[in-house]
């Protein structure tokens, strides 16, 4: 502001300087001397003015030189003018300062109270302040729209984050549920795998046992068949033996009958001879011859009886032998019959067993295959379940993260909303 | 033990001492679980029984008869006479042939001891309380080892007869 003054002041100076040159030299000299002193006063006064001592005045009357008087008056006028300008400027500065203070106050109000509703009204209407007012107004407008937008965004954000949180929470819940369900399933599948492994093993064992039993059973079948055949033979043989025994018995009986007769006769002879001997003995000497004959007879009879005794013994032996043979053969027949019965029973059993075993074997093999397949399937399922579990776990982790993030987001939105709340725009 | 030692015994029978000797000889047998003796001169011989022939209707203490030197002898089992377990009869069972008057009996014993000398001063009448056996003891003595009961054959026979069932 003093710039213009200084400029105008500067514009005057060169004129005064020219003036001073155009005077005579002599006079100049004297004048120079008087002027010099007067210049020096003026210079000092200018210097004082330039130093800001705007109350510096010259007394023009003191100057003899008309030019210098004019200069001094000018200087005084300049000083006056400067002084007044300065006062003006100072007054303007004060006004602007006041206006700025008010603007600042309004801004502070804006910030502290968030009151964007009012306009900036300055008590001092200084043109210099207009841009400031306009500027501040613009700022406030921009702020207002900004706050609007933020408020909207914050609301939306709040809503969205709430939704996200809800969804995330739900997701977390469902993924947790899913995870535990999957875990359970996996556990079950593991058990199933284990069980099916067991079954497979057992089935394998059953199958191999069945195979062995089948082989033995077939062997048994063969043995039974040959046993039955031998039983048949025994029975036939026994029948033949029976016939032979019967024939033999009949013959022996016939012999026995004959022998009995002989025996009877011999016995009678013996008795006769004994009695003859007895009589002979009683007769003493006289009966001696008689006794001798009787004795002979006795001996004969005894021989016969010995022979018949032998034959009878033989017959008894034969009878016993045939009886034993018959019994044995009967026994054999019975045994063979029973054997055949047992054999066919056993055969039936074996056949039953064989078919049973065959079924068992087949069944075992089927089970084995099935369990093999099942095992593969189960393994696959388990594998899949593991994968699912992994994914679910990750999802869980993710959803947990999401939930956390959503929660965070919601919190932030809330904070933002509460912040924005402080700004009144309506 | 004592085989057919007849000469020795005949010595005994011939020697009839005037005054009672300090000791007397007895033939000792083991019967009824104890030591029993017969007057030594009465004992003819000790034999092995051999095969016995049983007699019909004979009491238990008369297990049978056997021939010895052509003579038929009856066998007496004093154990059975006393109702005790009989002496087991085997072909090698020993019997002492006791001859006293009309009685000639082959007495079988559990064991045959042989001749023992009993000091006469130890000879005492048989104790009264030994029921059963006492009735045919003539005395009891001690040969220094233990008591020996002296049997009286006629009394034994009498006891035997009494215990047979009369015909």
């Amino acid at each position: 502001m003093p710039e213009s003054k200084t400029a105008s002041a500067k514009a005057k100076r060169p004129a005064s300087r020219a003036q001073s040159r155009s005077q005579s030299g002599a006079q100049r000299g004297a004048q120079r001397a008087r002027a010099g002193a007067g210049l020096a006063q003026i210079t000092a006064a200018l210097r004082a003015l330039s130093e800001g001592r705007y109350d510096t005045r010259l007394d023009p009357s003191k100057f003899g030189d008309a030019a210098l008087r004019g200069l001094a008056t000018e200087v005084n006028a300049a000083a006056e003018r400067s002084h007044a300008d300065l006062a003006d400027a100072a007054a303007r500065v004060d006004a602007v300062t006041q206006g700025v203070d008010e603007a600042i106050e309004a801004m502070v109000r804006l910030v502290v109270k968030g009151d964007l509703t009012g306009e900036l009204r300055l008590g001092i209407s200084d043109a210099a302040l207009t841009p400031l007012v306009a500027g501040v107004g613009q700022v406030m407008e921009t702020l207002k729209s900004f706050v609007h937008e933020i408020r909207e965004a914050a609301l939306q954000l709040s809503t969205s984050s709430a939704e996200v949180l809800a969804a995330a929470t739900q997701n977390e819940t469902s993924t947790t549920q899913q995870a535990s369900a999957i875990h359970e399933t996996t556990a079950t599948m593991e058990e199933l795998k284990g069980a099916s492994h067991q079954i497979a093993e057992n089935a394998q064992m059953v199958a191999s046992i069945a195979e062995q039993t089948l082989a033995s059973g077939r062997q048994g079948e063969g043995s039974i068949k040959s046993f039955m055949e031998s039983m048949e033979k025994v029975r036939k043989n026994a029948v033949e033996v029976d016939d032979a025994i019967s024939k033999l018995s009949r013959r022996v009986e016939r012999i026995g009958t004959v022998v009995e007769v002989i025996d009877e006769i011999a016995d009678r002879s013996d008795l006769l001879a004994l009695n003859a001997a007895l009589e002979g003995a009683k007769a003493g000497e006289a009966g001696r011859g008689f006794s001798i004959v009787a004795a002979e007879m006795r001996r004969l009879a005894e021989n016969v009886m010995e022979s018949t005794k032998e034959i009878k013994n033989l017959i008894t032996e034969i009878r016993e032998a045939t009886h034993a043979a018959k019994q044995a053969s009967d026994g054999n027949k019975r045994m063979a019959g029973e054997g055949e019965k047992l054999g066919s029973a056993a055969m039936g059993s074996v056949t039953g067993i064989l078919s049973g075993i065959q079924e068992t074997s087949d069944a075992a093999r089927v089970i084995h295959l099935a369990t093999q397949q099942q095992r593969t399937a189960t393994e696959q399922v388990v594998q899949s379940m593991s994968e699912i579990e992994e994914v679910t776990r990750q999802a869980q982790a993710g959803s947990r993260q999401a939930t956390g993030a959503a929660a965070e987001l919601a919190k932030l939105a809330e904070r933002l909303a509460s912040l924005i709340q402080r700004f009144r725009v309506e | 033990m004592a085989g057919p030692e007849e000469p020795q015994f005949s010595e005994f029978t011939e020697r009839t001492p005037a005054k009672p000797p300090a000791e007397a000889w007895y033939f000792c047998l083991k019967l009824l679980g104890g030591r029993y003796g017969f007057d030594a001169p009465l004992v003819t011989e000790v034999v092995r029984l051999g095969l016995l022939t049983r007699l019909p209707a004979a009491p238990l203490f008369l297990p049978g008869v056997f021939t010895h030197r052509g003579e038929v002898l009856a066998v007496l089992d004093i154990n059975q006479l006393m109702g005790q377990q009989g002496v087991p009869i085997r072909p090698d069972t020993r019997a002492a042939i006791i001859h006293c008057g009309q009685w000639k009996v082959a007495v079988i014993a559990e064991a045959v001891e042989g001749l023992v000398a009993i000091p006469t001063r130890t000879l005492q009448p048989p104790p009264a309380e030994n029921a059963g056996v006492a009735e045919f003891l003539s005395a009891v003595g001690n040969d220094g080892k233990s008591t020996i009961a002296i049997l009286d054959l006629p009394r034994v026979v009498e006891a035997a007869r009494a215990r047979s069932v009369p015909a």
Binding site: - | T67, A160, S164, A167
Partner: protein
Amino acid sequence: MSEPTSEILTFQVGTRIYATEVYDVRRIGHGTEAGLTHVSRSCLGQPLASGRGLVVTGTDEMEQALDVDRVLGIQSVPGSSIQPLPAFAAQCLGSAAVVGLVVLDESPTPLIDIPTLIREQLEISAAPREKRIPDA
């Protein structure tokens, strides 16, 4: 032959062998002969089978038979082989039918008086129980 002999009939009852002098035996019959009194069981024992009967004439002139298993034979024996029972035995036996011993093959065989035996047995059978003689 100066030495006196005796005619001896030997017979078997059960497992035991006995002898008798022939004179008492009227005849030898079948064990199961009818029409006469049979004595089977006696102090001699009991025959296993009635093979023969030693027939004697009883006091009432009726025939009686002692049933025996078999008659072994009739033989002459020297008189010296027949001996009386030892005194001790004689007085201890429960039957009067054992009259002596005959030494056959160095083995003394009881000599039986058959009529006496039969009589004794019939008396015993008729008498009350206590009087029965125990068998040999």
